[in-house]
Symmetry: C2
Subunit: 245 residues, 2 copies
């Protein structure tokens, strides 16, 4: 990847501990980098659209209309993000349907493999999926060009909303502690399916893989530790929920 | 039903042909009328919520992501109406979840009985369902108190949006005329299921039945002809689509 000579240095968001370190953010005028960003936004957009569709279909499992509507409202936010990402891809001169459709396959596989069998599994799935996605996009998003970083972080900031519904899971486990075993198993399965689909996504999408492995990204993110960090954060959330992960 | 002595006469929207006729609109201070309105808004709200949920699940049948998103965007409008109706019920001092949940049963039966087997059936269903609902609510809404009438008509004005997607059905039939037979049969089935569920709704909800049969409503709407008019309008739409209804 070639650097733009005119690219301005910006404060580093790296984790190397040197507060004064400055990095040069990658520039969209680099065609290889630009292609990687298009693929990343395509992945994020396809993910948001399917999250919307799946959340709405899982809302039908809710025990009451008001709980159903709460999920529908969260889903609506995901459709809003999808549109933000779609507009940005158009602005970049990319075909958003093409960029996003390329990722529908593995994402739909993930959702098919993890269709919740009841309301609580649906809530845990929404929470686990959104949290891991948020962790991943926050790490990667932070070291991209400023415009892309701002968009990715904006979309991420909303992913955290699912955390609200998890109170309901906590209350259900308090009422019936036997639920904890089944839901803990479910949480492990969700993590496993996510990591497995993520690997096939990276293997099949060269531009995205090149972006993640590019010097500018990999010099700032400890890639070898990424899966470990995502897993550790997942385990922490599950434990806080009272689920042995 | 008792009339408010202070109720102001408003121009008639009846079809009796006398342009100068004036009617006194019913008033929400009449408890029997108010109960009927709560049930009507509950029915409309439950219908909008389920239309949202079903449209989104049917979007998954679309051949491309952009077609899928178009349906999702229409669905989002229905969720918006649901919220308008919900807020109005709260304003009226009613419990919106109770008022709407009472109608989920027959409406879910309708959707279960008419699950589309492919994309085109889904489009025809959205169009047929929205159009018949719009015709019904427009007739009934027009003779209610002004506030309720304005809300019902606002919600209705959006139902017509589904008409846009029907161009796709027309184009598909033009490409493959053999589709017309199957879709015509489908349209007849949708009408039949709607009328049958409407009858069970009216039979089980006294307040709603009393509203429709009240002197103020029945003096302005030819109730005996209502089903006939809804059917005739449906046949006209199907014919315009190239489907023998």
């Amino acid at each position: 990847m070639t650097l733009e000579p005119a690219a301005a240095p910006v404060p580093s968001s790296s984790q190397d501990g040197s507060p004064g370190a400055e990095v040069v953010r990658p520039a969209l005028s680099d065609p290889e980098y630009r292609q990687g960003v298009i693929e990343l936004l395509g992945l994020l957009g396809a993910g948001e659209y399917l999250a919307f569709e799946r959340l709405v279909s899982e809302a039908a499992l809710a025990p009451s209309l008001s709980q159903r509507v709460r999920i529908a409202d969260i889903a609506q936010g995901e459709l809003g993000h999808f549109h933000l990402l779609r507009e940005r891809l158009i602005e970049m001169g990319a075909d958003p349907d093409e960029a996003m459709s390329a990722f529908l396959g593995p994402l739909e596989s993930y959702h098919r493999m993890t269709a919740p069998s009841d309301w609580l599994e649906g809530l845990v799935k929404a929470y686990v999926g959104d949290s891991i996605s948020e962790d991943f996009y926050r790490e990667v998003g932070a070291v991209l060009d400023e415009e892309t970083a701002a968009l990715v972080l904006e979309v991420c900031s909303e992913l955290g909303k699912t955390a609200v519904v998890i109170e309901e899971v906590r209350a259900a486990i308090a009422r019936d502690p036997r639920l904890a075993g089944r839901l803990a198993l479910w949480g492990r399965r969700l993590l496993g399916e996510m990591l497995s689909q993520a690997q096939s996504v990276a293997a099949e999408h060269d531009g995205l893989a090149a972006l993640i492995l590019s010097e500018q990204v990999s010099s700032q993110i400890d890639l070898f530790g990424l899966v470990e960090r995502l897993t550790a954060a997942h385990v922490e959330r599950m434990t806080a929920l009272g689920l042995a992960a």
